[in-house]
Amino acid sequence: MTDSNKTPSGNGTGNGKEYKWVGTRAVRPDGVDKVTGRAKFGADLHLPNMLVGKVLRSPHAHAHIRSIDTSAAEALSGVKAVVTRDDFSDQPKGAVQPAGEMTINYRDMVRNVMAREKALYEGHAIAAVAAVDARIAAKALSLIKVDFEVLPHVIDPVAAMESGAPIIQEDLMTEGMEQSPGAMTNIAKRVEFGHGDVAVGFAEADVVIEREFTTQPVHQGYIEPHACVASMTEDGQGELWLSTQGHYVARGHCATLLGLDVSKLRVQASEIGGGFGGKTVVYLEPLALALSRKACQPVKMTMTREEVFRATGPTSGAHLWVKVGATNDGRITAADAVLKYQAGAFPGSPVAQGAQCAFAPYELNHVRTVGYDILVNRAKVAAYRAPGAPIAEYATESVMDEIAGVIGMDPLAFRLKNAPKQGSQSSYGPKFPVIGCIETLEAARDHDHYQTPLKPGQGRGVATGYWFNIGGQTSATLNLSEDGSVALVLGTVDVGGTRASLSMMAAEELGIDLDKVRPMIVDTSALGYNMLTGGSRVTFAGGIAVVGAAQDLIGTLKDRAAKFWDISVDDVEWAEGEARATNGYTDNMQPLSLQEIAKDMAKTGGPIVGAHSINAQGAGPSFGTHVVDVDVDRETGRVWVTRYTVVQDAGKAIHPSYVEGQYQGGAVQGIGWALNEEYIYDDKGRLENAGFLDYRVPVCSDVPMIDTVIVEVANPTHPYGVRGVGETPIVPPMAAISNALANALGIRFTALPMSPPKVLAAIKAANGDVTTAN
């Protein structure tokens, strides 16, 4: 086994090389199971004597919990266990631990999975029961008596920052700011990035535009609700099956919250029906384990769609201020922004990442971004594709578009004139490595879409987006079978086609047919640690691990061949799926195929396994540029997206169909974010649209076929040049659509969503009908 943070070189050398498998549109290994219904998702596991778990949730946005009386529920026939705050030990104050992608404050997490002193949002878990069936579990919930003292609440981030606002957490201290002794606040953190002096830059500008924007919280909208089955036995051993983006990370969270040894909890990820960042955290799982521990029976828990909306993390709503200055010839002289993001009831909005990405598509001498992380009475936000970036870049890309229009410059030419390249100092500090920002802008400019004239009344918008991408801890193993086929053992949840892309890299390295590689995602006890699937990391980091495992396997194969031939391993090479003798032995020895070596592996030393574990570094950042055409029904305010093109740098597309799918999916989610999706609260802080009938995500009839262009500027830190592709596509759509609407109507919208009532009101206001404007 190899274990190194050095990236293995592998067979890939970036772009320009012909591959047998990499870059093809191979059949997906999970396809048959998914189209035939065999694939098992979170709710599909059934165990003998399994109980049904349900959660009692707060009806109040903010309330003290004076008492919880579960006695009647516990006395109900068929109820096997009830858990409340008393069943979870508190976690140390102020202690954060590395876990998954980020550090985790387990004191917050234990309060999020089960309310303790206060209910902090409508839907906050108060108690959970396990019973022999769902009807009895529901009846038991109705018998639990909770004495609430209802408190004032706050949802809006700006209102939450004002003095006198209801305080969500009385002991909160603001990180990054001086705070008056004794003063209470909802501001969890202030961050600032930038360089130069924006005052100097604005003084050099011919044109300065300053705008304020608002966005609403939106949900990731995964089709499969959260679901799990937990089973704990009398000896303290546990098993957990769940729908998650990272079962190793979930294992760590659950073990911490339940006081278990990590190795005593064996966790298996189910197939996943979408995550988009929303399944990087735990909600039901610690409750199911706690219930199972009490009942000593397996417990299944599933969320309803309504619970998903009320109790799981959407992304932040925000208030944004942006100011940009430029010269009349299109050079940006200064850029400044203040971003205020809702965190939900606990600190942790993605405002720092939003602040870093806000102006990343530009090379700037004078730039500053300030961000605030603000507590409000909503479920704690969770990651959502490129967390933080879409919100910030919606505002900044809107202003960039407006300023290009004021100086009379084509918006792509304006972006090209200010685009960063390798060595440019990013707006958040470091110099960029090899990037493809200019290449995506040029591809968008030259695309048929951008060159095609609009029809009367239509508008066209463009926007550019940026996301970092990440690497992280990853393990992979290749087990050679006696017939020469190979099992690819993975621990990274396949959200977006990574079983296919990783198998293709394994086949490419080994020089064998793809159908001889069978990928499988195993439980946490069967493979070394794997960080969760997020940050667009798995084809990048997993690819490095798989290439390393293949090189490890090839090393053993060459060694066995050398023994067979009785020559030095230095005289053996591996090519096209076989060992070949070299250095003068070529004429005397026939090549040994993988099958031949596998057949005799018992006689040459036993099982042959290749393995590699890595903490992958050097993820290649990705830029994308979107072009969108819209038509507007002037009588209803309905916006039709008539044409949409995504151009993005993938480094190297291992499986182009999956890459295109990521581009298309991000664009469609962005269309929903731009035009319809929002959380609507009543005056008591209760969500009014907790279902897909009232929270409207795009359906097929809402969107055109999304065209895609894969730009390939190889990432030099990956054997095949891969960059992550899953997150950047959701960054540009909101600004691109807003810019298209401005082009169509001459109206600059500054609030999301641009839903029909708001568009209609703006059209009427522009026509002088002030009674309908909002």
Partner: protein, 81 residues
Amino acid sequence: MARIVLTGNLQLHTEGVSELELDVNTIRQLMRQLSTRYPGLPADFEDEVAVSIDGTIYQDDWFAEIAPDSEVHLLPKIGGG
């Protein structure tokens, strides 16, 4: 000596210093020297940061090499969805 740039909120714990030069060969050495020089840095600060070495971003990698002429930026750790 490598050029070290502190971004985000780190300079609140470094007496306002946002740039300095240090003789370090690895991220581990960098973290140790910063902790020694600025005892006000939180004990777990290295768990909260990513380190860019000449434009390549490292997270949780003590032994990534820093060259004498490297430009190093400390950033907030990056997650994703």
